[in-house]
Point group: C2
Chain length 166, copies 2
Amino acid sequence: MTDRTDHPAPPPPAEAGATITPIRSLDELAPGQRYELGGFALSEAEIIEFARRYDPQPFHLDPEAARESLFGGLVASGLHTLSTMFGLVMGSGWLARVSLGGNRIDTRWPAPLRPGEPVRVTAEVVEVQPSRSGRSLGVARLRYRVRRVADGVVVLEATGRHFLRR
Amino acid sequence: MTDRTDHPAPPPPAEAGATITPIRSLDELAPGQRYELGGFALSEAEIIEFARRYDPQPFHLDPEAARESLFGGLVASGLHTLSTMFGLVMGSGWLARVSLGGNRIDTRWPAPLRPGEPVRVTAEVVEVQPSRSGRSLGVARLRYRVRRVADGVVVLEATGRHFLRR
C-alpha cells in the first residue's frame, strides 16, 4: 500500500462537494433520494496527526507497527473517516440553510481506509418526519456511505438523525 | 455560558486517564463492569478549530451566530466530543495491550457540550464474546458515557464494538 501514499491529495472537502444545490426545507427530502457529496483521501501524515489526538493506536500511528497488526499496514482511524466525511457533507452547503443540529449517528466500518486511497461520499434519505408539534422543523434520517473509488468497497456506513428546518 | 470559557483547561486526555490499569486479555472483561477513564473540557478555540475541519456549522463556529440557534450559544460538534472521548480512552492505555481495532460505534448526544464545561468519561462492559473459530481474540461491546461534572447530565453515550486479544 505504500505506493498510494505518494499520490497527490484531492482538493479539500469543501471544494470537492461545493457544487451540490442547498435544500431550503426538510420538505424537499423524500425517502430513497440519493445525493453525491464529493470525495476525499487521507494522507499518511493526516492519518497520523488525527490519531495522535483522537485514536492513538499503533495501526493508526506507525506504519512499521501497523504491518504487524490485523490490517497489515497503516489505516485511518474510523473516527477520522467519519469526521472527514461529515466535514465534506456540511462544507458542501447541502444542509446549510436548514440544519439545526443532530442527536444520533450509528456508524459501521466494513473495511479499512488506507493512506492516499480516494473515496466518494453519498447520502441516501431514509426517513423524513415533520415535527408533530407543528413547529417549523422535523427530523430526517440520512444514511451516508463512503466508498473507495477504485473498487466501490464501502469503508464507512453511517446513519445520522438530523433536525432540519421546514 | 461565556464565563466558563475563561476556566483553565484540565490536563490533556492522556494524562487525565493515565492511572487506569491496562487489561491483558479480553477474558478480564465481564458484562456490568464499569471503568472510570478520566475527564476533559473543550475550550471555545478548540471547538471552533475542530468544527472548521469536520463540522462547519454556525453553532459550532461562531458564538454570535450560535446565540440565534436552538442551542442558544456555541456548542461542541458531537464528533468532537466523541473523538476527544475516544482519544482519552485509547490514550489511557486501558486497552493498549489488547486492542486490535473496531468496526462499529453507535452514538447519541442527549445534551449539548458547551465551551469549558468539564466532563468525565466512564465505560461499561455490555457484552463479551470470544471468537467462535477458537482464535486468540474476541469481541467486546463497550458503552461509553460522557457526563458533565457539574450536574451529571450525559452529553454523549456511545456503544462500540471492539476486537480484543485474549
